[in-house]
């Protein structure tokens, strides 16, 4: 894959815990600064531990990039709710979102680093899942 100078892939972090999500986002920022669109969401609609489909949709919107968005999740409900949120997107956006099967902190940092280099979504996803640059 050739690197491009187009907008980098956005990164969304979805944790059951707002603290974990925010902390992971801090670690991403330390690595890539503001060069990659980044948003995090955590907690259920009442603010307790859990995930919130509306919050995930808002985070996807906040981190939106023409190159698409890679989502990093922690435990089961974060993945299921992220899949549900993706299905609620309009079709043009839906095809440009990938949920990564990777540990949330390590996956987010390496995905963002790959995205900052201009890699397309499928490479960002694969790099996160393999936890090493391709």
């Amino acid at each position: 894959m050739t690197k491009s100078s187009a907008a980098p892939v956005g990164i969304v972090i979805v944790s059951h815990s707002p603290k974990v999500a925010e902390g992971a986002a801090d670690m991403v920022r330390q690595m890539v600064g503001d060069s990659v669109p980044l948003a995090w969401t955590g907690g259920n609609p009442d603010g307790g531990l859990g995930t919130d489909v509306a919050g995930i949709l808002a985070a996807i919107d906040a981190a939106w990039s023409p190159a698409g968005v890679a989502i990093l999740v922690d435990l089961g409900g974060a993945e299921t709710n992220s899949e549900m949120a993706v299905e609620l997107l309009d079709e043009a956006r839906r095809r440009k979102v990938a949920i990564c099967n990777a540990p949330i902190v390590e996956g987010a940092v390496i995905a963002a680093t790959e995205a900052a280099g201009g890699s397309p979504l499928e490479i960002v996803k694969r790099t996160a899942e393999e936890l090493s640059p391709l």
């Binding site: 259920n44 609609p45 489909v53 509306a54 299921t80």
Partner: protein, 207 residues
């Protein structure tokens, strides 16, 4: 079904979950993260708050609206899973369905839940109650159907006790998930009971 009847159905199902939230949470504390009751309660309270508007819609739109509340408010995997059950049911069910059409729609909805949860029957999940209930509903015997559906749901939920969880948070416990009822299965049992009790009762008694 008219709007009054549909409202009875919504209220019956929602109140059944809300009033058993403590029990559902206790079941989930034994083998999960302990949020199933409070999450389902949050979702069904949103349904109750919108019950008049939902009940005034044709049955498919009512079910879809109910499902969307669960998706948006539950805050755990149960939201998309139970939400998908109702939303997929809405896609297939006519406004005034026959029993056969209900069974067909439930079959499709169960397939949608399997896909959403990447799960199958036998993994100690809500599917282990939904699937036997569908078998009962699709059977040829219509005599005392409500009572038989309730009995089947109860037996199926109890049958999750000796199962080992393969999906969901309970699967992290491995063999320690054995010996407890699946909270999602218990929720399905509660919903089936509430639907059967509402539909089996004369409409005027509850209005």
């Amino acid at each position: 079904m008219d709007a009054a009847r549909q409202k009875q159905l919504i209220a019956g199902v929602a109140n059944a979950i809300v009033s058993h939230a403590g029990e559902l949470t206790a079941l989930d504390q034994a083998i999960g993260d302990g949020d199933h009751g409070v999450n389902m309660k949050r979702g069904f309270e949103a349904v109750l708050a919108d019950a008049d508007r939902l009940a005034a819609k044709p049955l498919p739109e009512m079910l879809k609206g109910l499902g969307m509340h669960l998706v948006m408010k539950v805050g755990g995997a149960s939201g998309p899973l139970f939400g998908t059950l109702f939303i997929a049911l809405a896609k297939e069910i006519p406004a005034d369905p026959t029993l056969g059409e209900v069974a067909h729609a439930l079959g499709q909805a169960i397939e949608a839940v399997k896909a959403r949860g990447k799960s199958a029957v036998g993994q100690k999940t809500m599917l282990d109650v939904l699937d036997p209930v569908l078998a009962e509903l699709a059977g040829a015997d219509r005599l005392d159907l409500a009572a038989r559906l309730k009995a089947r749901a109860a037996a199926a939920a109890r049958a999750t006790v000796p199962m080992k969880a393969i999906r969901g948070r309970a699967s992290y416990l491995g063999d320690r998930s054995i010996g407890h009822m699946d909270p999602g299965g218990r929720s399905v049992w509660l919903i089936v009971d509430a639907v059967c009790d509402t539909l089996a009762s004369p409409a005027q008694e509850r209005s």
